[in-house]
Assembly symmetry: C2
Homo-oligomer: 446 residues x 2
């Protein structure tokens, strides 16, 4: 049987993917800015058998719908949103093995300071950190950070290639493995002959400096990526160790996964698909829970999110008018294709709204523990994937449900990959702490 892993997919805000559920009386997502909320979440995840917590992030607001962020603000659609990075060491302090993935958009970072921040996380978590490489697609984020408009898609990937080269040089190439001596008797902390400056003189960045951090357990954090365009897949095949894939059908995902694995070969890839589960002790309990949750869905919130991710202002269309993406849409092209595949070529806003069953386009898996386990096992086998990113519904109960009802049966059936020992990379790939050749990061080694 194909073993797989469960990541919790979350974001440091009220509404992440399933919009409107914050209004449920048992939901605690409005406590997103409290430390206790995250410490408790981390403990719950580790106890529930999750492999890692994955934190999404954006540096802008969803203001495509009606040309304003109004619907996003009213429905807490990823706004307000705090910085996920400072949460991670605190959560690491109350867990032993849970991995932490975090999204950082490289378009708004300086590689030198960013490299230090990630090395810091890797040190403090004992090598439990992953980075989801994002190049950004929000015009509002560009306007927030002094750019007049977002860069063209392929330019973003050029920038990303250069950024990766710079941070690999800092993480992998600046300090030799044996640079730190910490020899009290000789009064020698580190050996200058085993540390070298990085000289990166590129089109976008210029660095003449040694990395400020001593070697952390993994050096380069575990690299996640989610690009689905041609250029995005090429980038992922070159850099990513783990890939997020949109769930469509197992057969379609299988084709995509085969393509990604072939491109990355001989490097192994872990592929995760997004999923939402509603599990109850019985099918009836699950169905009732699902109906209860559904009463709290915000269709308008889901529409605000979809408008931004597709780059289409749905308010410009009548409810039954076929939606056409503008020529200059800045949304993710593959998202538009996915919707057309799901709803047909002449889909309308009304069609789309009908698909927001739980406040998002993603259809949840609802059922008894056996039913949900069957469905996940089937998905993993058929699509040849390595894990699921489970989006939250009503927290913390949806995570507690996974721990109490789902992971025991997945374990019983041998479907859940064991947590394993060591750094996050070691646990995922069973090999060393560090990226190995032919990964481009390994070229920067001493």
């Amino acid at each position: 049987m194909k073993q797989f892993r469960l990541n919790a997919f979350d974001m440091a805000c009220v509404g992440h993917i399933q919009h409107g559920l914050w209004t449920h009386p048992r939901d605690r997502s409005t406590e997103y800015a409290s430390l206790d909320h995250w410490l408790s979440l981390a403990r719950t995840l580790e106890a529930a058998g999750f492999d890692a917590l994955f934190l999404a992030d954006v540096l802008g607001v969803y203001d495509v719908l009606g040309g304003t962020p109004e619907a996003a603000i009213r429905n807490a659609v990823q706004v307000p949103l705090i910085d996920p990075v400072p949460l991670i060491p605190a959560m690491a302090s109350v867990t032993a093995t849970l991995g932490f993935g975090v999204t950082c958009n490289l378009a708004y970072e300086q590689p030198f300071a960013f490299a230090r921040r990630m090395s810091t996380l890797d040190h403090l978590t004992g090598g439990r950190v992953g980075w989801n490489i994002v190049t950004g697609y929000l015009d509002s984020a560009a306007r927030a950070t002094g750019h007049s408009a977002i860069m063209a898609h392929d330019d973003r990937y050029d920038l990303a290639e250069e950024f990766m080269d710079a941070v690999y040089a800092l993480w992998e190439g600046s300090w030799a493995d044996d640079a730190v001596r910490a020899d009290r008797a000789a009064a020698l902390y580190a050996d200058p002959a085993r540390i070298r400056p990085v000289h990166h003189h590129g089109k976008q960045y210029r660095i003449d400096a040694m990395h400020l951090c001593a070697p952390s357990p993994q050096r380069t954090p575990v690299l996640y990526q989610a690009g689905a365009s041609e250029r995005g897949r090429a980038f992922a095949a070159r850099h990513a160790e783990c890939i997020f894939v949109n769930p469509s059908t197992p057969a379609h995902v299988r084709t995509l996964v085969a393509d990604l694995r072939a491109r990355a070969a001989p490097r192994p890839l872990k592929v995760y698909v997004g999923a939402t589960v509603v599990v109850g002790r019985t099918a009836k309990e699950a169905a009732d829970k699902y109906e209860d949750y559904r009463r709290h869905v915000s269709v308008r919130g889901a529409l605000a999110h979809a408008a931004a991710s597709l780059g289409i202002d749905f308010d410009a269309f009548a409810p039954d008018e076929p939606v056409r993406a503008p020529d200059n849409a800045i949304g993710i092209k593959s998202n538009i294709d996915a919707v057309s595949k799901q709803l047909g070529p002449d889909w309308t806003v009304r069609d789309l709204e009908r698909h927001f069953v739980l406040g998002a386009r993603q259809k949840p898996i609802v059922g008894s523990p056996q039913e949900v386990a069957d469905r996940l096992i089937e998905w993993a086998e058929q699509a040849d994937i390595d894990g699921f990113n489970l989006a939250r519904t009503v927290i913390p109960e949806c995570l507690e449900d996974v721990g109490a009802l789902l992971t025991p049966i997945l374990r019983e059936r041998g479907a859940l990959a064991p947590a394993g020992q060591g750094t996050y990379r070691q646990r995922l790939f069973g090999a060393g702490d560090r990226l190995a050749a032919p990964h481009p990061a390994a070229l920067h080694r001493w």
Copy 2:
């Protein structure tokens, strides 16, 4: 009696101010990259009666001495160095009242993302965070981040003024106090009419965006600053709530403090001076401890640090040759003046080295609890200051000594300001959580 506060002055690295002491067998500073180290430190500080932990930071290395970072690397002089920001929420999770100050150099930050990071810290700590505003003086930091050389001194303050204006607008002006409604029944999370975008179109930054974070307890973090030049003092008088002052003599500091208070009036200022104490149960025990510590001092490390902060390569001078600062020295001019005041106009490298009594220029206060308390009380009275930033020597014992021996007697004598309730700003100033007029931040309010 003038009451005062104790800050612990530290940095997320091995050697901070007193260089070489990491070689002492009881010193634990080599554990700077471990989370447990910082959690334990935070607990120790709170138990010992410290008011706040202040974390210094630089984004470069000390490479002025001999034109290389060799001496800094060998002696762990602020390198390696991790990012202090991610430490703060973890430390907040194990303490109740301890404040956290952190240095961030605005020259290497984008105001939009930086404002979110600080709001995040303020939320997660429940309003216990302060920011030490630094505009930077290291050429190596400029070269690390893509600048060919550091900006001229006054240009840095122009940049800083604009940066402050932008972050005040985000922190204080974007969300009205009542913007967040979190009304489940009405399915209204926040009121769009009570949130507005910031439009900052300046010389250096351009922002057209709402702040991503809902109002945090303090909004603007407590503002620290340490500028001593004419332009630095003017900046401090306009923006800072707390000021760090170099310790010279109480009389000299008193004059400086009077000037700063007069410039800031009617706003109150808290002024802190740096100090190093070595306290023992008896004068003899303290003297023995001091001698024991001194055997571990790194003169070369102290010289590397001083060379960078003064902008003078001491290796270019014979040991007994009077040192002259180059015309284009990029060090802090007031640091050079302070050394000349301390050592006389024709000081030599040998003179300077003689003053590195504990691995830094700062002369420690050594004695029994009574003696050290007397000295601090006298200093606070004579110099009219509000607190001390105590540099570490051998950790954690130097902090445990303060808790066991010094704070009890300071409390007994009524010299220690009570910890107080509420946010860090409230505890310091006894007024509200937020900056009040005539502070320029208050101008951005709704």
